[in-house]
């Protein structure tokens, strides 16, 4: 475990009825590291992300963010502390414009939202920042569109943009490539490569090509347990991982 860990998870467990979704999870993300979490469907990846984001209470264990215990902190307080998540199933404001979507996320971190008189439209800084983020995620040309009218790939870009707009130091990405075609995937990988090194990322992903291109470190979650953790080379060579998940043919 490195000393500069942004995120440290100790002994985290969560069960739903008789199903052990997460069992004694130990995982960490170092500063500016891209740590990928892979595993078959139902392994408990999204459950883990939900607990890290404060949307699910763990049964036991501890989550530390930048040295501070956050296990019981609310979702919004974690976001304000610098830990933000994206969703596997796109979660945007479909009836708001792309710019308004991003401006909302900027609003959350800049100044109070208990302002009752001054029109949002007069808040130039808000939209300035929103425009810049739209550019970063490749939506500069689409800021005026309704978010719901975007193509699926663009919505995935907005999904990441909303998370980025909170200015996180740790990004939890829950399957950012979900449902993307080859071309869209390339765009998303390029976007994430641009972020790599700027901030820490915990990347949950099924697309192995993306994982091996982006990750500094990979952990493998199977049936709620981390069965291996190491460099991409080490994981590729790991016999147990290949048997449990990758399948011999992919190596």
């Amino acid at each position: 475990m490195t000393s500069a860990a942004v995120l440290e998870v100790h002994n985290l467990s969560k069960h739903f009825g008789g199903v052990q979704a997460n069992a004694n999870i130990e995982i960490s993300v170092s500063a500016r590291e891209t740590h990928a979490l892979i595993g078959p469907n139902g392994a408990g990846k999204t459950t883990l992300v939900a607990q890290l984001a404060g949307m699910l209470r763990p049964d036991s264990g501890a989550i530390r963010f930048e040295g501070r215990e956050i296990t019981r902190l609310s979702t919004h307080a974690r976001v304000r502390a610098g830990l933000a998540r994206s969703f596997q199933i796109t979660s945007i404001f479909a009836r708001f414009s792309v710019l308004d979507n991003l401006a909302l996320a900027v609003q959350a971190r800049s100044g109070t939202s208990f302002s009752f008189w001054r029109p949002v439209r007069a808040d130039a800084d808000l939209f300035e920042d929103a425009r810049q983020i739209a550019g970063e995620v490749g939506l500069a040309e689409r800021v005026g569109e309704l978010a719901g009218a975007l193509a699926h790939g663009e919505q995935r870009q907005l999904e990441v943009g909303l998370t980025l707009a909170t200015e996180p130091r740790l990004l939890l990405l829950d399957e950012p490539m979900a449902g993307l075609g080859p071309e869209e995937s390339e765009r998303m990988i390029a976007l994430l490569q641009g972020l790599k090194g700027e901030l820490a990322m915990l990347l949950v992903e099924h697309d192995m090509d993306a994982v091996f291109r982006l990750a500094d470190r990979i952990s493998v979650l199977v049936a709620g347990r981390i069965i291996a953790s190491g460099t991409p080379e080490a994981i590729r060579a790991d016999v147990g991982v290949r048997e449990a998940y990758l399948g011999d043919s992919t190596a």
């Binding site: 959350a108 009752f116 008189w117």
Partner: protein
């Protein structure tokens, strides 16, 4: 015609209305018009949480009752000054909204509807059992609140303008609020609350503040209603009152800035109009409402908004 001209035209019409009624010797309707303004205020406050906030509160009459009974009880105890009673009544209504909201907003969907309804009905039965203040029979205030400065609220024309000024103030406040950071965030929470908390909004607290603001405004409407008829009864808090406010909002336009006003005008106007012709006014009102909901699912305000976009931006 843009809505830019619609609002000032509406204000001018509302200012001239009582003078017109006097001129055609129909001064009786000034009081009726004031009643519409009061309900417009109550419905507008509900529209903030129901329309903009997506909170299906079925207990809005509780706050009207809280405002009305504060004024009524103070009057019964000899406090007739509006300067004392009205702010206090608004404060009490806000406090009631804070308590009901704090508990109800922990639930979602049907549970939220049911729990807000339950709280309002609880208030209703509490005041039914308060024999000291009239119980089931209600309470006569004797007179309207005292303002001083030569303003006599018993004068129907003055009373109408007091209601109008307060309604306009409320509408301006609500319209500003909806366009400000607070309102934008509130509407986004209606769209996608999970996402809002995932970008750092304290959604529960934000919605609770909206709920309290709506409750306070409904409390003011209650103050006016109590004064209007110089009479209060637990019926003000009955669930049918909450239901009527919801119908006003739905008919007028959910989330539309003038939805509450339009709804109050249409619903109360219809009731009065149909009662002129038939004893079965409720049936007639029901049929017309059904037609509105069927043919204008966005409410009457939605019809205007749609024709505007059709004429190009």
């Amino acid at each position: 015609m843009g809505s830019r001209f619609l609002a000032p035209a509406g204000v001018i019409a509302l200012v001239l209305l009582p003078l017109l009624l006097q001129a055609i010797d129909q001064a009786y309707y000034i009081g009726f018009a004031a009643r519409i303004l009061i309900y417009a205020m109550a419905a507008s406050s509900l529209n903030l949480i129901l329309g903009n906030g997506g909170m299906l509160s079925f207990g809005h009459a509780a706050f009207i009752g809280a405002g009305a009974y504060t004024v009524g009880i103070l009057a019964a105890e000899g406090v007739a000054s509006a300067w004392i009673a009205w702010p206090l009544a608004i404060g009490v209504a806000a406090l009631v909204a804070l308590i009901i909201g704090a508990l109800s907003l922990r639930t979602r969907g049907v549970y939220f509807i049911m729990i807000t309804l339950a709280f309002a009905q609880m208030m209703y039965y509490i005041f039914v059992s308060m024999k000291g203040y009239g119980g089931d029979d209600g309470l006569n205030l004797g007179s309207r609140s005292v303002v001083g400065y030569g303003i006599d609220l018993k004068n129907e024309l003055i009373w109408y303008y007091v209601c109008l000024v307060l309604l306009l103030a409320v509408l301006v406040l609500l319209n500003r609020l909806v366009e400000a950071r607070f309102g934008r965030a509130l509407e986004a929470m209606r769209e996608n609350e999970t996402r809002m908390s995932a970008i750092g909004f304290a959604t529960y607290r934000h919605k609770l503040v909206a709920f309290v603001i709506a409750g306070a405004i409904a409390g003011l409407a209650g103050v006016l209603l109590a004064n209007h008829s110089s009479f209060i009864s637990p019926k003000l808090m009955h669930w049918t009152q909450s239901g009527m406010l919801m119908v006003m909002v739905i008919v007028g336009g959910v989330g539309h800035r003038y939805g509450g006003l339009i709804g109050a005008v249409v619903l109360l106007g219809l009731e009065e109009l149909i009662a002129e012709f038939t004893l079965y006014s409720q049936l007639g009102v029901g049929i017309v409402l059904l037609a509105i909901v069927l043919f204008a699912p966005q409410g009457i305000a939605g019809l205007f908004a749609r024709s505007q976009t059709r004429h190009g931006s």
